[in-house]
Amino acid sequence: MKKMNRSTFVKYSLVGAMAVILVFPALVFSQPKEIPIGSIHAVTGVISDIGISMRRGNQLAVDDINARGGIKSMGGAKLKLLLADYEAKEEVARSEAERLIKEGAVCLVGPFLSGPAMTIATLCEQRSIPFVIDVAAADDITQKGFKHTFRTFAISTNFANNMLIYLTQIMKEKNVSRIRGVVTNTGDLFGRVQGATFLKFVKEKNFPIDVLAHIEYPLGIQDLSAEVSKIKTLKPDVLFPITRSGDAKLMVTELYKQRVPLMGILGPGSPGLYEPEFIRDMKALSEH
């Protein structure tokens, strides 16, 4: 048998390698890479219904993009969603975002709550990771000069401003010149910012609302009977609540139980009153 010298061996190996490449080009050249994107939502905790719904929104979009051939300019690279749960807590949001970045997420998307969004935005700025906020709305997050944070949603100022525009129209149509109102909000970042922004606009624009009280309670509260009985004694025309899914249901149920006579409940940018879960659980009360 002829002994194979080094150069012959190299030659045959190269031919072999070429053959593999020719036969299985897909394996070598166009193996689409996966692009990991970190999706961070509160799928457990006090706003879990909202967190689950948002994670599903992220996932459906990823599936749709992959079904349409992925990212075409990058050889059809597929998106891969890395999942994280921040449990509606700021400290968990930071550690979970950190984990997603360590696992290779090139970009983060989420969350609903503004406090956790702020901690994630701060972290992303330090780590140079792009962050697209899908809902969290407190003005501050995108006004701190962060270079890596973007948002698809409106901000608190819009909500407060639009509320007063709509209210002007309603008051004109109904011939109401002054409103006695009570403002309530949850005590997390968005609740506080949204409540304060609304009150600031009312004051600055000298809007004809007499604010009888501004009531704040913690996110995740289990009983609103004391707050609602206080509202009842103040006899407001309109309640301006800034709620979340759990306390929105408590609030409406309690207002009904205690028979609080109101002209209306007008949420100036209030989550909790429109989600499928609210309408399912509250049935007729959601239409009041």
């Binding site: 692009i35 994107i37 999706s39 939502h41 909202i50 719904s53 948002m54 994670r55 599903r56 929104g57 992220n58 459906l60 979009a61 990823v62 749709d64 993009i65 990212i71 075409k72 300019s73 990058m74 690279a77 998106l79 090139v106 970009c107 998307v109 989420g110 609903f112 140079s128 990771i129 792009p130 697209v132 906020i133 899908d134 809902v135 270079k147 890596h148 973007f150 698809t152 949603f153 409106a154 909500f159 639009n162 509320m163 709509y166 209306g264 409940i265 007008l266 949420g267 100036p268 940018g269 209030s270 989550p271 009153l273 429109y274 989600e275 499928p276 399912r280």
Partner: protein, 77 residues
Amino acid sequence: MDNVPWVNPKGKMYAEVNARFSKLYPGKYIDTNSGYAYLGVMVIADALERAKSTNSADLVAALRKTYLRQDLMVGGA
């Protein structure tokens, strides 16, 4: 009554995405939360497409130039 940005009920994209979402999750529909969550990923995908890279600086530059036409939700993304 509430005041929040909402889905575009007349949008083709809304009708199509919502039909599949409701089928996947009976009793649910695309609301402001799931809708903007869907859009968030679309914004990232669009930026990746234009950036042709997963490099942070390239992706940030592409995100800054985002102009996504869509009729799923109201308002520009």
